[in-house]
Symmetry: C2
Subunit: 358 residues, 2 copies
């Protein structure tokens, strides 16, 4: 196996870590203690454990919100410790369990408190996090879909961009993602997952079943496109840094991403993973519904190039809109402060809660 | 004049910029366009203008919150463009005006909307920003005091740590600070400023006049100590990275800080500035009231060393508490995510709104 230099990896992903809630100082400490790639998980776990200790101190002092904020940080650190650690299933399981536990303990006490809602799907359940905006319902609602190596914990701050604008959010660990990755594999289709999620989400009091959209990041952008194209009940879809075809993107994927895709799709080796990647495509799955779809893509995306964004947009025809950001990287983490509101505002206009622009 | 290398300056202050709301990507762009120190303001102003253009786009699309979020970023960028630019009063005035305007336009539309409340003081007025927490009053309230080169705009995100915990906040440009720096000089005493602020703050509906504390950062920590020690109506005080004596700190101050102190205290030259610094001391001003005071200080603070923190703490005797953070830098910007909640929780326990620790 050809592991990457962990310090270069940390630098490369700085914007992703920070824009999703890892304190810059923690990232510097973690990076400073990295040795080789196998040391990555331990470095992040130590930092997460430190945050949990601070959280326990805060809790003893009666500071419930502070404890929750620190547990959210710990959850993110455990998550980023294990997110690409598929070669070490022991660490992957330990990190996933610690991340999920810290997050579940934090959720009820954070701003816009969250609650875990399990989605019955394919004989099992998928854990989702439901959060409601301030103010009375019925609320429009957004289904948020993580990518190949993300999980519901990582989308916590992104979901607040919608919450601040009056939308409820539901972030789900789909099959093969986060807590679900040990019992299921990443599917190439997401229509049935979306149907299960919608069945659960529309049953939550306060959610307006007529105003639901789906937003996915990275591989989740592909999933959002699959779902928007054919799952009844969705009013709009967004891909943020998503792809049209995993096989087309394969040559530009880093080793760790290929390995994660291989393991999470249950492929025995890389050729089998590439064969799986052929299935992850919108080709042959034309939209069954006339649905607005937004594609937001960074021109500096080194994983999914502009061809992917253009095909994804063309897939939805006249009702699609493509926003290209010349300086944006993969998933536009570097421009998250500006692009995430852009996504939320676009969705909200479609769902009828903002005045439409002249 | 011996100007610093602007890129080194930007790196040195990264945590301060980011922890107060400058997007990391903007900071990278700004740093990449720096030439010499005189180019600093223009680089920040360009970025702020870009954010204002994005804000105008958002506003045209009906996205009021997004426009406000972008204007807050612009306000911070204009602020950090001019915060140490005392050698160029034209840029200093332009940046101050642009920062204040963008901030004033943003304030009513941001979470915990703010409103400008002018504080009558010494024949003029000092602009303050009042923000109230969610939920019904009467609320405890925190007076937040900027330092030598900060301004009310820079404390916007810090104030939200208090707002999330149910406290109202009032951030003021004191004499010689921010918008007030052209009409007044930095005073060595702040007791009378605090009295003026309290007179205004206690007149705002919803503020509990019996539960007001003062929190200052850097030189504002010294001001908080002056005020807490003798201004009636304050229940507690906090210094975050503050000092006991500016003259003692003088040798470790950077050129730009000395220059800013000289100009903002109205000294003709550096010896006169040092003479002014002798006045900025708690020596000879023992507390007239028995008041709890918290000193939070970073052991890696290169401007104000540990002696300053220890003397500040001893000044308040038995009711003082000193929290030292071994890894903290000046004002603990690198640990803001953890230290700011610690400050807010400490104040809130004293003001009687959190269960007291066992």
């Amino acid at each position: 196996m050809t592991f990457p230099d962990p310090v270069a990896q940390a630098r490369h992903l700085t914007q992703r870590f920070v824009s999703n809630g890892v304190p810059l100082d923690d990232l510097h400490t973690i990076t400073g203690s990295l040795d080789d790639w196998p040391s990555w998980y331990a470095a992040w776990e130590r930092m997460g454990d430190t945050q949990l200790a601070h959280a326990a101190d805060a809790e003893r002092a009666g500071a419930t919100l502070t404890a929750a904020e620190l547990r959210l940080i710990a959850a993110l650190e455990f998550h980023f410790g294990k997110f690409l650690f598929v070669h070490d299933q022991g660490a992957l399981r330990a990190g996933t369990a610690k991340s999920a536990l810290a997050y579940r303990q934090a959720l009820p006490h954070l701003p816009w408190p969250g609650r875990i809602v399990d989605v019955p799907h394919a004989g099992g359940t998928l854990p989702g996090v439901f959060r409601a905006p301030h103010g009375p319902g019925p609320w429009p609602a957004i289904v948020l879909v993580p990518g190949l190596d993300a999980a519901k914990e990582e989308l916590h701050l992104f979901s607040e961009v919608f919450l601040r604008r009056g939308m409820a959010t539901f972030v789900v660990d789909g099959p093969g993602q986060g807590e679900s990755e040990f019992d299921s594999r990443l599917p190439s289709a997401w229509e049935d997952v979306a149907a299960s999620v919608l069945a659960t989400l529309t049953g939550i009091a306060g959610v307006d079943p007529g105003r639901i959209a789906i937003v996915g990041v990275s591989l989740g952008g592909y999933y959002a496109a699959r779902a928007a194209a054919s799952t009844p009940g969705l009013r709009a879809g967004v891909s943020l840094g998503g792809c049209y075809s995993m096989a087309q993107a394969w040559p530009s994927l880093a080793f760790l991403s290929r390995q994660a895709f291989q393991v999470r799709t249950g492929a025995a080796d890389e050729p089998a993973a590439l064969a799986n990647a052929e299935e992850f495509s919108l080709a042959g799955h034309p939209p069954e519904r006339d649905i607005p779809f937004l594609v937001v893509h960074g021109e500096r995306d080194r994983l999914f190039d502009l061809t992917q964004a253009r095909r994804l947009t063309e897939h939805f025809g006249d009702r699609a809109r493509l926003v290209l950001e010349p300086e944006g990287n993969h998933v536009l983490h570097n421009l998250g402060y500006r692009v995430r509101p852009l996504v939320a505002d676009w969705v909200l206009r479609l769902l009828g809660a903002l005045p439409v622009a002249a």
